[in-house]
Structure formats: structure tokens, C-alpha cells
């Protein structure tokens, strides 16, 4: 599973979703397709959600093996350290699944 990211030409920072300029060093960023494999850094289940959303929302912060971090929704419970695969959905948000 591939996810779109950008990598800074200057400081090599990886940011998702892709953007033109590095948030840190102003360097130009190049779009890359990264493998979605990674590990859950932290997570939460949100019980009080904004209007237009349905509770509960499960979300995890994933550190990709290829670099960069992304917040992704999950349909199942995960733990810190759970190995996951991140998928980019058509609306640009991300979904994680235990590997």
C-alpha cells in the first residue's frame, strides 16, 4: 500500500500529505510514494466528536518505516507499537489497519 508524501530536498524531512515547501527549512519538497508500513506511536478513541461526525472515532499517530508521521483513522483497537499499514483514502484522509 502506497501513500503520498513529500521529502525536503534540503533537510530530507518527510511530510504527509505532500506540500511544496518544507515547514522547517523552506526547502523545496518533492512528492514521493511511500510504503504505508509503520508503527503506532500513540492513539485515542474520541467519544465527544464535532457536529457531523459519529462517535466513537478511533485514531492513531503512525510513524512510517519510510519516514514521516501521519494521523490515521482505525476501525479496530490498536496499541502503542502495533504494526500497521496506512492507506490513503480518496478524500485524502488516512486509514490504518493492523499488519
Amino acid at each position: 500500500m502506497k501513500v503520498r508524501a513529500s521529502v525536503c530536498d534540503r533537510c530530507h524531512e518527510t511530510i504527509l500529505p505532500p506540500r511544496e515547501r518544507c515547514p522547517e527549512c523552506r526547502g523545496p519538497m518533492a512528492v514521493r510514494e511511500l510504503d504505508g508500513a509503520g508503527e503506532v506511536v500513540t492513539h485515542t478513541t474520541v467519544h465527544v466528536v464535532p457536529e457531523g461526525f459519529q462517535a466513537p472515532i478511533r485514531v492513531g499517530l503512525v510513524r512510517l518505516d519510510a519516514g514521516g508521521q501521519v494521523l490515521a483513522r482505525s476501525e479496530v483497537a490498536v496499541e502503542i507499537g502495533t504494526r500497521v499499514t496506512v492507506e490513503e483514502l480518496p478524500d485524502g484522509t488516512h486509514l490504518l489497519r493492523p499488519a
Partner: protein, 375 residues
């Protein structure tokens, strides 16, 4: 750098204040002007996060000056999300130090309780990154993830984390300006509804109305602004690197360098505990404790009233209340009262140096202010 002094401070009670926002801000300003013994100022700077959306008012600087009878002077508004109050203070300090204005009135305020909670939550949530908003995340969701990570990494238990709101409410009992002048038990925190696991309702600051004001001037007064530091970080939580809030770390470094004091010199502090976990992380980011040791100091009682360095004697955002644009200036008001020995039943002994730390966004635009008594 030329000195800047705090000549006067004031605040309205926090909680439910049934006044239009400009009048409420003028009320706090009048108290600060009276405290300063000042009739005139050279500029008015105001701060509010949600004035347009929730209070449905703009041109706030001019309106506050007009109500106060200060028409004619320069007036403007600073919006810096939940760090609007501190950003107003920073602007006032630089305006005075530059020599442009001799005396500046800094005012922050927010009117929030007259709107339904989902409306307020949506207004506050606009500070987040688009990627976070589209997932349905809120400020509390991000704080929950930060809390879980800290707890796992450093061995902080859910029970010890609950000591933050318990301490806050205990202190606020002694603060007549506080929204909740009522002590709570550990069990009450642990039994409160889950908002975003592991954070519960009593881990979160409330929705509040209120205003606070500070008079900053070039002429000597009893409290000096020793340093103001300001830092930012990447907006999206996923884009950040390293532990704690870098924006606070940068702000603290700058403030301490200006002030020529060190974290060990600080006698009393007001830290941004919008969520319980933040007080612990803030206390490490400003340099009071090493990473992973902030909660141990809390557990030992070092940060309680009567401890070695009390944190949030006012009750903090949790119990004093969090009218977002007012908070940074209310923190300064509390520290000034502490330094002048005027904090009543919550007075900390032997205060010479005090610190405030105010967070904007979810931890990505933060200010630290260091204040000292003038001998």
C-alpha cells in the same frame, strides 16, 4: 533592552459573565487602570480568539478604548488563538521598550458561555490543521494522544495525572475570581465521562467568559517584565518531532536569556493546563524539571501551594476558567499579585520571580513571560 514595568493588573470574575465582550474587557481594563493609578495611556492593545465568531463583534480595540474614555489613542487587536492574551502582553512590552509608547493598556477577553457547546468546540477547533479537522479530531483528541504517549514512556499513571485537576480545584477555592471555587476528589476526576481516552471531562478546562488586563509602562513600578519569549512549531501534530512542546521550549529559552535568571530562580508559575497532561509537560518544557520528572514533582507536592515552587496557585485554566483570549493576561495578573504579596489566601511565600506560560493552537504558538519584583 530598555525596561518595561507592570503598573497595574485587573480581571473580571471568570465563569458566566453576562456582559457584551467589549464592556467586559473595558471592565477588566478599568480595574487595571485603577490599580496602576493611571488616567491616561498611549495605546490600547486587545486580544481575543473568537470575538468575530462567538461574540459577533469586531473593531474590538476601538470599542474598548471608546467605552473607557480613551478615544484618540492608538488601538488594535491581536489574534493568536488561545495565546492571544500573552501575545498582547508581548506587543505591549515591545511597544514600550521601543520608546514608541510610554504606557500601554493590554486587554484580553472572551465571551463563550452564551453559545451551545458544539458551536464553541467548532470555533476553538479552527486552530487545528486541516488534516486533523477532517478526521473529526478536537483539541482534546490531540491532548489525549499526547497524554497516552507520555504515560507510556514515563510511567505516569492515570491516578497521578488526576492530581493536576485536584490541585487546581483546591487552589481555586482560595481565588475569588475563579470559575470553580470548589474542591474535587481524585475519584471525581476518575469517574467523570471520557472525552477522548485517556482524558476525562475533569482533565479539561471549561468554557468560560472573562477578561483580564495589564498596564505596561516605561516608568518604574513594583513589578518588572524581565523577559518575554515566543516560539512556534509545525501546526500538525503528526509533523512535529521530539518530546514536549518545542514552541514552549523555544519561548522559555528566549525569556530566560532576556531575564538573566534560570528556571531554579522562579518562585511561582502559572502554566497553561488546558488539559491536565499539559501542566506536567509544561513544567518540563520551561525547565523546572527534567523530561519525565514533572509528574513526580506533582506527586511529591512540590507544585502545590506550600510546596517548593507552586504551579497554578490561581487554580489554572482548569479551575480559574479559560476564556481563551483572557488567559495569558490573567496568568500575568496572578503572578503580579503573587509578587506584590496581594494574593490573599493563596499567597506564596517569598516571591521574587514569577513565570507565565501560555499555549496557542494545540501547542504550536507559545509564550513565556518572566516577571520580577522591583527591589
Amino acid at each position: 533592552m530598555p525596561p518595561a514595568y507592570v503598573a497595574g493588573v485587573g480581571q473580571t470574575p471568570f465563569g458566566k459573565v453576562e456582559m457584551p465582550l467589549p464592556a467586559m474587557m473595558a471592565e477588566a481594563a478599568s480595574l487595571a487602570l485603577a490599580d496602576a493609578g493611571a488616567e491616561a495611556v498611549d495605546a490600547v492593545i486587545v486580544g481575543s480568539q473568537t470575538a468575530d465568531e462567538l461574540a459577533q463583534v469586531s473593531n474590538l480595540g476601538t470599542k474598548v478604548a471608546d467605552i473607557l474614555g480613551l478615544s484618540g489613542v492608538a488601538a488594535w487587536r491581536v489574534e493568536n488563538s488561545s495565546a492571544s492574551g500573552s501575545a498582547v502582553l508581548e506587543a505591549a512590552v515591545h511597544a514600550v521598550r521601543s520608546g514608541a509608547y510610554g504606557r500601554v493598556l493590554a486587554v484580553g477577553g472572551e465571551r463563550m458561555t452564551d453559545k451551545p457547546t458544539p458551536t464553541v468546540t467548532r470555533a476553538l477547533g479552527r486552530v487545528l490543521a486541516d488534516t486533523e479537522v477532517r478526521l473529526g479530531l478536537t483539541m482534546t483528541s490531540l491532548a489525549a494522544m499526547v497524554a497516552r504517549l507520555y504515560m507510556a514512556r514515563h510511567g505516569l499513571s492515570r491516578e497521578v495525572l488526576a492530581l493536576v485537576p485536584v490541585k487546581a480545584h483546591g487552589n481555586a477555592v482560595r481565588n475569588p475570581y475563579a470559575q470553580f471555587q470548589k474542591a474535587i476528589t481524585l475519584q471525581k476526576v476518575l469517574d467523570s465521562p471520557i472525552i477522548a481516552d485517556p482524558l476525562r471531562m475533569f482533565d479539561c478546562a471549561p468554557i468560560s467568559d472573562g477578561a483580564a488586563a495589564v498596564v505596561v509602562q516605561a516608568a518604574s513600578a513594583r513589578v518588572e517584565v524581565l523577559g518575554v519569549g515566543h516560539g512556534t512549531d509545525r501546526v500538525a501534530l503528526a509533523d512535529r518531532r521530539g518530546e514536549g512542546l518545542r514552541a514552549t521550549q523555544l519561548a522559555a529559552r528566549a525569556a530566560f536569556a532576556q531575564a538573566r535568571v534560570s528556571p531554579g530562580d522562579v518562585d511561582v508559575a502559572e502554566l497553561h493546563d488546558a488539559f491536565s497532561i499539559l501542566e506536567v509537560i509544561d513544567s518540563e518544557d520551561v525547565g523546572f524539571y527534567k523530561r519525565g520528572e514533572g509528574y513526580r514533582a506533582l506527586e511529591r507536592g512540590e507544585t502545590a501551594l506550600g510546596g517548593a515552587r507552586p504551579i497554578n496557585p490561581s487554580g489554572g485554566l482548569k479551575a480559574r476558567g479559560h476564556p481563551v483570549g483572557a488567559t495569558g493576561l490573567a496568568q500575568v495578573a496572578e503572578v503580579v499579585w503573587q509578587l506584590r504579596g496581594e494574593a490573599g489566601a493563596r499567597q506564596v511565600d517569598h516571591t521574587r520571580v514569577g513565570l507565565t506560560q501560555n499555549i496557542g493552537g494545540f501547542g504550536c504558538n507559545n509564550l513565556v513571560c518572566i516577571l520580577g519584583s522591583v527591589a
